[in-house]
C-alpha cells in the first residue's frame, strides 16, 4: 500500500532531482552569442519522472530485501533456476533441439541485417568466453582485453595486405600472435594484484591502440585498412548475402568449438588450478601449483580467443581502424562476463546476446539508447549483483555413513 509517508518521501526525492538536474536539463547557454534558453518543460518531466520511479525503485528494493531474507532462512543453498533446468535431461534435450533448429533456420528467416547483428553478437560470445577464462576462472581483472582483439584484427589485415595471406591461414596465426601478446603482457604483471593489475592491463590496451593510431607506416593510422577480403569457401565466388550467411555459420561453428574447449578446460587440471588461484594464491602455491605457469596460460588462452575474434571481425566488416578498439569495447566485454554471471558459460552467452542485441534493437530510441544502456547496466547490477545466471559453486557431498567413518 502507498502510505502518506511514502508519498512525502517520493516528493522529497523528486524535488532533489529537480534541483540536481536543474542547470544541465533546464538551462542551455550559447557562450558565443550570450543567449540563454530556458527549458522549463524538462523540469516538469524530471519531477514527475523521478516521483514515479522512486515508487518503483522502493518496491523493487523491498522485494530484493525480502528475497535475501528468505534465502538466508532457507537451509539448503538453492541452485539457480536455469542451472536446474539445464541439469535435468528432459528439459535439456528438447531445449537443445529447439535452439539448434532456430540457429540453423535463422539466416533464412530473417534479413541479412539481422544475420549481421547476430554474427556480431556471436563474436562477442567468443570474446566473452575468452575473457571469462582470465576474469571468471583465474580471477585476473583484465581491462585491456580489447588489445588482443586488435592484434587479431590487425594481423589479418596487415598479413593480407602485405603478403596476400588468406583468412584460413591467418586465423591460427592471429590466434597465436594474440596468445604471444598475452604472454608478453602476462610476464610483467605477474606480481601485481587486483586493481593494480586492472590499471596496467588498461594501460597496455591503450598503448596498443595509440600505437595503431600514430604509427602510420605500420598500421595506416586512424584512416585504417579497407578492402579486407571476406573468408573464402574453396575458391567459390559468393554474393554479398551468401557471404554474410557463410560467416554466420562459420561463427556458429567457432562458438560451438569455443564452448566445447572452455567447458573441457573448466574441469581440467589447469582449469581447477585457475579457480584455486582465484580463491587463494598462497594456499594454491602451497599445494604445488606453479603460479607463473598458471597465470601465463590463463592470459595466453584468453587472448587466443580474442585473436580469433579479431580475425573474424576484420573479415566480416572488411574495414578496420583503431576506433574499434577503445577502452569502451573492453568495458563492454567485461560487462558481458559480469552481467551474464562470472564463470558460467550459459551466462556469458546470455550476457553477450543481451548486451549486443539490446543496443541494436534499442536503435528505435535513437540517441537515447546509450543512456538506457548505461542505466540498464546499473540497474541489473543493483538488483542482480551475481549476474543474470550465477554460477553454482561446485559442491561435494559426503555420501557415506558418518559414524562408521569416525
Amino acid at each position: 500500500m502507498i502510505t502518506l509517508s511514502e508519498i512525502k518521501k517520493s516528493l522529497l526525492i523528486s524535488i532533489w532531482f529537480i534541483f540536481l538536474t536543474f542547470p544541465i536539463m533546464v538551462i542551455r547557454v550559447d557562450t558565443v552569442e550570450n543567449v540563454i534558453e530556458w527549458r522549463w518543460n524538462n523540469m516538469i518531466l524530471v519531477g514527475v519522472g523521478s516521483f514515479l520511479l522512486s515508487f518503483l525503485w522502493r518496491h523493487l528494493m523491498g522485494r530484493k530485501e525480502a528475497g535475501r531474507k528468505q534465502a538466508e532462512s532457507d537451509e539448503a543453498e538453492k541452485t539457480p533456476l536455469v542451472q536446474r533446468i539445464l541439469g535435468e535431461r528432459r528439459f535439456y534435450l528438447p531445449a537443445l533441439i529447439a535452439v539448434s533448429i532456430f540457429v540453423i533456420l535463422f539466416p533464412f528467416l530473417f534479413s541479412t541485417y539481422q544475420v549481421n547483428i547476430m554474427t556480431t553478437a556471436l563474436i562477442y560470445v567468443i570474446l566473452g568466453l575468452g575473457l571469462n577464462i582470465v576474469v571468471g576462472l583465474a580471477g585476473l581483472l583484465d581491462l585491456g582485453y580489447v588489445a588482443f582483439y586488435a592484434v587479431g584484427a590487425y594481423s589479418y589485415a596487415l598479413l593480407n595486405f602485405h603478403y596476400g595471406l588468406g583468412f584460413w591461414t591467418v586465423l591460427p596465426v592471429g590466434a597465436i600472435l594474440a596468445a604471444l601478446a598475452g604472454i608478453l603482457l602476462g610476464f610483467p604483471v605477474l606480481r601485481l594484484r587486483g586493481d593494480y593489475l586492472a590499471i596496467v592491463t588498461l594501460g597496455f590496451g591503450e598503448i596498443i591502440r595509440l600505437i595503431l593510431e600514430n604509427y602510420n607506416e605500420f598500421s595506416f593510422g586512424p584512416s585504417g585498412i579497407a578492402n579486407i577480403p571476406r573468408p573464402g569457401f574453396f575458391g567459390v565466388d559468393m554474393s554479398l548475402s551468401a557471404a554474410i550467411i557463410y560467416i554466420y555459420f562459420l561463427m556458429i561453428g567457432l562458438t560451438l568449438f569455443t564452448v566445447f574447449v572452455v567447458n573441457r578446460l573448466q574441469n581440467s587440471r589447469i582449469g581447477r588450478a585457475w579457480v584455486a588461484l582465484r580463491e587463494d594464491e598462497i594456499a594454491c602455491q602451497a599445494m604445488g601449483i606453479d603460479k607463473t605457469k598458471t597465470k601465463l596460460t590463463a592470459f595466453a588462452l584468453g587472448a587466443t580467443w580474442a585473436g580469433m575474434g579479431g580475425v573474424i571481425f576484420a573479415a566480416k566488416t572488411t574495414f578496420i581502424n583503431p576506433a574499434s578498439f577503445t577502452f569502451l569495447e573492453s568495458a563492454i566485454i567485461l560487462s558481458i562476463v559480469v552481467l551474464g554471471g562470472m564463470g558460467s558459460i550459459v551466462g556469458v552467452i546470455m550476457g553477450a546476446l543481451v548486451l549486443i542485441l539490446l543496443p541494436e534493437y534499442l536503435r528505435e530510441f535513437g540517441e537515447y539508447r546509450m543512456l538506457f544502456f548505461g542505466a540498464a547496466m546499473v540497474i541489473i547490477m543493483v538488483f542482480r549483483p551475481q549476474g543474470l545466471i550465477g554460477k553454482a559453486r561446485r559442491t561435494y557431498k559426503f555420501e557415506g555413513d558418518l559414524k562408521s567413518e569416525a
Partner: protein
C-alpha cells in the same frame, strides 16, 4: 633552460589538475575499495555546471572575477550533489556485492552520465569563457608560465592544504581514516560509516569540480567526453602514487604531469599517452604497490 622550465611548470599545472581529480579516486578507493569509474564524469559535470552558471551570469553582466568565484561555487555544490546521489543510488546497494559487480555498476553510471549530458546539452565542443584574469605583474615571466597556470597552481596548493588539515584534525577526517583502516571496527566504536562514505564522495566530487572549472577556463573548451580521458589519467596517477594514499595521489599526479609534458616537449605529442602508460607499467613492475604505497606482506 627556459624551454625546460616552461615544460616543467606546464607539467606541474597538468599534474595539479590530475591531482584534484585523483584525490576523489583515491579517497573513495581507500574507504570502499571501489574504482569509481564515474568519477571523471563528476569532473565533467562540474565543468558543465561552471560553464552554464558563468554563461547566465555573463548575460546578467557581472565582472569576471565574481563570475569565476560564483561559477566555481556552483560547480562544487552540484558535483558534490551528483557524487552524493550516485553513491546512494548505485553504490550503496552494492556494498556487499562482489567487487566486480560494483565496478560494472560504475562503468554503467559513467555511460549514463555521459549520455545524459550529451542529450541535455550538446555533443559539440562548447567554448568556455576565459575567466581567469591576466595579471600584469606576471608579464616578465609570460614566456614560461601564464597567469592561468599560476592561479591553477595556487588553488591546487590551497585545496591540498585544506584537505590535509581536514583529514588530519577534524572529527570527520578522523572518522574517515578509521573507516579506511577497518570499517567494521570503526562501526563498533561508533563511527557512522554511511555518513563517512557520503562525506568522502562529497569531498572527492567537490575537488574534482574545482579541477573541472579551472582546466575548462584554461583550455577554453569542453564537451561531454572530457571526463573519460581525464578520469583514466587521474586514476593512473592515483595508482602510480599508491592507491588509497592521499600524498601518493598528489605525487603520482605530478610525476604523470611531468612525464606527459616532457614527452610532448622533447619527443612528440602523438605519443604523450604512450609514455604516460609505459611509465605506469614500469613503475608498477618495480614497485607493485605504487610509489608511496605500502608493500605489505600478505598474511595467511
Amino acid at each position: 633552460m627556459d624551454y625546460f622550465l616552461e615544460l616543467f611548470l606546464g607539467g606541474l599545472t597538468r599534474g595539479s589538475i590530475y591531482a584534484l581529480i585523483a584525490l576523489g579516486y583515491t579517497m573513495v578507493y581507500g574507504i570502499i575499495e571501489l574504482i569509481n569509474f564515474a568519477h571523471g564524469e563528476i569532473y565533467m559535470i562540474g565543468a558543465f555546471t561552471g560553464l552554464i552558471v558563468a554563461g547566465v551570469l555573463t548575460v546578467m553582466g557581472l565582472n569576471s572575477v565574481a563570475i569565476l568565484l560564483l561559477a566555481s561555487v556552483a560547480a562544487v555544490i552540484y558535483s558534490s550533489a551528483y557524487g552524493f546521489t550516485m553513491e546512494k543510488v548505485a553504490y550503496k546497494p552494492l556494498r556487499h556485492a562482489p567487487r566486480l559487480s560494483a565496478l560494472i555498476g560504475a562503468i554503467g553510471m559513467s555511460l549514463f552520465l555521459q549520455n545524459y549530458v550529451l542529450l541535455a546539452q550538446t555533443s559539440d565542443f562548447l567554448p568556455f569563457p576565459s575567466l581567469i584574469p591576466e595579471f600584469e605583474f606576471m608579464d616578465p615571466y609570460a614566456h614560461i608560465i601564464g597567469s592561468a597556470e599560476v592561479v591553477i597552481l595556487i588553488t591546487t596548493a590551497v585545496v591540498m592544504v585544506l584537505l590535509t588539515l581536514l583529514i588530519k584534525f577534524s572529527k570527520i577526517g578522523k572518522a574517515m581514516r578509521a573507516t579506511a583502516q577497518d570499517r567494521k571496527m570503526a562501526m563498533l566504536v561508533g563511527v557512522n560509516v554511511d555518513q563517512v562514505i557520503s562525506m568522502t564522495f562529497i569531498i572527492g566530487s567537490g575537488t574534482a569540480a574545482i579541477g573541472g572549472v579551472l582546466i575548462a577556463s584554461h583550455i577554453g573548451m569542453i564537451n561531454f567526453y572530457i571526463g573519460f580521458i581525464a578520469g583514466i589519467k587521474a586514476f593512473t596517477a592515483a595508482v602510480l602514487g599508491g592507491i588509497g594514499s592521499i600524498p601518493g595521489a598528489v605525487l603520482g599526479s605530478f610525476v604523470l604531469g611531468w612525464t606527459e609534458s616532457f614527452a610532448t616537449g622533447y619527443v612528440s605529442s602523438d605519443y604523450e599517452d604512450v609514455f604516460a602508460f609505459a611509465l605506469l607499467v614500469l613503475i608498477l613492475i618495480f614497485r607493485p604497490a605504487g610509489i608511496l604505497g605500502k608493500v605489505s606482506a600478505q598474511k595467511v
